[in-house]
């Protein structure tokens, strides 16, 4: 069985055909009323984003698909691009119609270079089928898609850093506002959407907003793809309705008996077994779909150490809270592992983490302390007063 049951049952190009027969405001209204929120993790309402870009006046606009899937534990976009690239390109094309853009760019991470030949072939076929180019399917819609290869930087998953990379600069996030919907790629209005968001938008146009809303919760509508890895019997990509509890999810993936689950990747939060009844949804535990199951034998400090090494390496270094803060948290974890961290210093580290959440410029520094703070909160007994044998 396909790990993506809903995407597999879609009729090819039905969403695009429907969009071609609709007015621009109606397409956006369909997406807006579905309640679709960004699938990359931040959860911004997609319809609102499209509406801003559609309302902006400019000679050129851009649809950018964010395939810089770098969050630790996330791999659903890779599977979507491998198995349902058409659905993603369909979503980009109808987004182009909705906001009035003629050019789409797929920003593919360098680590996924092996997907490139397949994606190029799909694009070539779509051009032949007149699903791209001028007069798409005999209408006056014009839209073209090209692929830009990322060069190995986690920060480029942040939309303004991604745009900087497209423009040929270091991937350093911009100040917001102005937002990309007004001042994006080359200063033109641009929407940056996750791979899964665009594929979902194509489904919504085909099946209607009511169909989408029938699943999920009131505030987190529809289904979501989850990338499940770690200590479980059946790791892989899963489709679940939003609002599923951690316990239900663990049962499906063979992860019963887990000590904790890291939801949302390295920048997400660590959920201890006592809270497995909580729901995975934007109103409770938000996620871009990364689920890392931690079995009873796992050392929480080892996990944190891995995450902080990652953030110290991937911080762009532009703003102080993130550049220095992550380094200090990493040193703190090393102190904890050596059993040489006082409670007073641990509290200082937590205060530092909270400062980073407020003061960092972009999502990287704002979310990198989350795992640290949640482990300190829930596993204090495990991490304090270690004997050096743990080092």
């Amino acid at each position: 069985m396909s790990p993506l049951p809903t995407f597999s049952t879609m009729t090819p190009e039905a969403g695009l055909k429907k969009a071609l027969s609709m007015g621009r405001p109606d397409i956006i209204e369909e997406i807006r009323s579905s309640g679709l929120k960004g699938r990359g993790g931040a959860g911004f309402p997609t319809g609102m984003k499209w509406n801003f870009a559609a309302a902006a006046r400019a000679d050129e606009k851009f649809v950018i698909c964010n395939a810089d899937e770098g969050e630790p534990g996330t791999f659903k976009d890779r599977v979507i691009l491998q198995e349902h690239a058409d659905l993603v390109f369909e979503g980009m094309t109808l987004a182009g119609k909705a906001i009035g853009a003629k050019e789409g760019i797929l920003f593919l991470r360098g680590e996924y270079t092996y997907l490139r030949p397949h994606l190029d072939a799909v694009l070539a076929r779509r051009r032949e089928q007149r699903l791209l180019g001028r007069n798409i399917l005999g209408t006056d819609l014009e839209f073209e898609i090209r692929i830009f290869m990322g060069a190995g930087a986690y920060i480029c998953g942040e939309e303004t850093a991604l745009i900087e990379a497209l423009e040929g600069f270091r991937g350093e996030p911009r100040n917001r506002p102005p937002f990309p919907v007004n001042t994006g790629f080359l200063g033109r209005p641009s929407i940056v959407n996750n791979v899964e968001t665009l594929a979902s938008a194509a489904c919504i146009l085909q099946k209607g907003a009511a169909w989408w809303k029938a699943r999920g919760t009131e505030k987190s509508t529809g289904f979501k793809l989850f990338s499940v890895s770690g200590d479980c019997g059946k790791p892989g990509v899963y489709e679940f309705p939003m609002g599923i509890t951690v316990a239900q999810l663990l049962e499906e993936v063979g992860g019963e008996g887990a000590k904790a689950v890291q939801v949302g990747g390295a920048s997400g939060q660590c959920v201890p077994a006592s809270q497995f009844e909580r729901a995975i949804a934007f109103e409770d535990i938000p996620t871009g779909g990364s689920i890392i199951v931690l079995g009873p034998q796992r050392d929480m400090l080892d996990m944190l150490h891995n995450f902080m090494d990652f953030f110290v390496d991937e911080s762009c270094g532009q703003c102080t809270p993130c550049r220095i803060g992550n380094t200090k948290l990493l040193e703190g974890i090393e102190l904890l592992k050596a059993g040489r961290c006082s409670m007073a210093y641990l509290q200082e580290l937590c205060a530092l983490g909270e400062t980073m959440q407020i003061a960092s410029k972009c999502g990287l520094g704002q979310s990198s302390p989350s795992a640290f703070l949640s482990v300190v909160k829930h596993f204090r007994e495990e991490i304090m007063g270690r004997t050096p044998s743990h080092v």
Partner: protein, 173 residues
């Protein structure tokens, strides 16, 4: 570098710049292409790129030094990037690391003296359900065990021999 080599490189960069439209947006695709062909990007190449795009060479250096896959350091024919992030870590990437180092006689961040292999770390490469994972150039290997390391290296060596005699890119590029 010999004068003729320099001229050839400059010519290639100029052709690339024309293909991409000589704007700043061409910078990363150009650097990627030159790295792919030459496996390094020295000061001279950066100057020529800067000239072609009408920017200061330090702008090129600034971008090149930011991205993990660009970098000005010379790399081997086969760049092995082992994923070090959480799921691959939990699935035993440390032992794969040791075996790679043992078999090649270099540490991570180094290139073998014969210029064939470079060992580098990668941050999460999206193969978390099939770890430990590594990339050899653009080719993916999953569920790598210390035992499989030798096999992977031998496959590279075999294809390198073919490349040297037939003078064409046959594999792993």
């Amino acid at each position: 570098m010999l004068m003729t080599e320099r001229e050839r490189l400059a010519g290639e960069i100029q052709a690339l710049a024309e293909k991409h439209g000589k704007s700043r947006t061409a910078l990363i695709p150009m650097v990627q292409e030159i790295k792919r062909r030459y496996r390094r990007l020295d000061g001279y190449a950066m100057q020529v790129i800067a000239d072609q795009l009408g920017i200061h060479p330090v702008e090129v250096y600034s971008v090149v030094s930011f991205y993990a896959f660009l970098g000005s350091q010379a790399q081997g024919k086969f760049i092995i990037r082992l994923c070090r992030t959480i799921s691959c870590d939990m699935q035993g990437k440390d032992r794969v690391k040791r075996q790679l180092e043992n078999d090649l006689g270099i540490s991570f961040g180094q290139t073998t003296p014969d210029g064939k292999f470079s060992l580098e770390w990668a941050n999460c490469m999206g193969m978390c359900d099939q770890g430990p994972a590594l990339l050899v150039n653009d080719k993916l290997f999953t569920r790598v065990t210390p035992e499989k390391v030798h096999e992977i290296l031998e496959e590279c060596r075999r294809s390198f021999g073919v490349h040297a005699t037939e003078q064409k890119e046959v594999h792993l590029v």
